[in-house]
Symmetry: C2
Subunit: 210 residues, 2 copies
């Protein structure tokens, strides 16, 4: 099934999940695709189409049961379990991620942190001790890490990613501004401010070109 | 024209641009959609379809002229000019962005930085002095800022974004984990590690569900 669902739909599911979680906190029981769309600035038709890939949800003219749809999305996204994360690169960006505090409540537990700088190795960040990046493969295997976050300089990123590939990690969140080369069964989500800014300028330019 | 092009296509254009820039540095003159696809792990058919939205590029059976396509994409993406950026929020994430050094070479010049913490205001980061966030609107207008980067805590983000909207900024790169509400002519690109991780778990789950 997975292969038939457009990537862009999958990118929207976490937005639906987050908004439904908020609605549940607000004690909303039923939500229409109109209301959901207004919150997310996505058309109701788009929302209905996106969800239709995963089955039949909601009742015509009535809306979606918030708790039910939330549970379904939790399952679809694989959020009904804990995920174990290793962070590689404890520079400012890495530390900002560790500080952020929003990962663990969503089920993403950073269990190990790594750096290649000898001055950092052994230092504590929160509850964790920064390990030598050479121990990455061993730790990933021993601790059953599922996801790698790469926050190293671009020159080191492909080597770190190769190492994560070699220990059978299948999902990487990459902050290094490179286009990593990985096997086809591996997922890399690249977060790159330049690429983001370049899509924004496309829109700025379109606004000024009547 | 702009409205007809799927958002997902626009998100890929910067990837093509970056890869073509790299090919040009390597003195490659012609590239096929196969070669481009192999570098980006995108199918050649997808690349040809994406580019076809913007006109006729390349020669059947021969490939794309690297310099020409690079110039075309530079124009399409609006990268043939300087863009002026204000950063709001000079915590670890904000400082990581300022440190990164990859923005200015791509034409994104951070001209002003803001924070609400009185202990930070007046402090220098690189060449810039951190300003009181209350001066945001005035500075944006005076300096002709085009793009805002929001790296403040979630509780402050919507207020900062409202302020950017009020000074006619039309493009925001938002790092705060909220779903901002903005007018329809405004573009917000949200960078949120939780949303990224949740699309990765979707794929991890699919790998384990035969």
């Amino acid at each position: 099934m997975a292969a038939l669902i457009p990537e862009v739909v999958i990118l929207r599911l976490p937005l639906y999940f987050r908004t439904l979680a908020l609605l549940k906190e607000e004690k909303t029981e039923i939500v229409s695709s109109q209301e959901l769309g207004a919150r997310l600035q996505i058309t109701p038709a788009q929302i209905r189409k996106d969800l239709s890939y995963f089955g039949k949800f909601g009742t015509q003219g009535k809306g979606y049961n918030v708790s039910q749809l939330l549970d379904e999305l939790r399952q679809i996204l694989g959020l009904d379990r804990k995920w174990l994360v290793a962070l590689v690169g404890v520079g400012r960006l890495g530390r900002a991620l560790l500080d952020y505090g929003g990962l663990a409540p969503q089920g993403f537990h950073v269990l190990a942190v790594f750096d290649s700088d000898p001055r950092k190795i052994g230092e504590k960040v929160g509850e964790l001790v920064i390990q030598d990046v050479h121990k990455l493969a061993a730790t990933v295997k021993n601790q059953g890490i599922n996801i790698g976050i790469v926050a190293v300089p671009p020159s080191e990123a492909q080597a770190v990613i190769d190492c994560l590939v070699s220990c059978r990690i299948k999902a990487i969140l990459n902050y290094a501004p490179i286009a990593p080369v990985v096997p086809s069964d591996m997922r890399v989500y690249n977060i790159d401010p330049v690429l983001a800014l370049q899509t924004l300028t496309y829109h700025l330019k379109s606004l000024n070109t009547p």
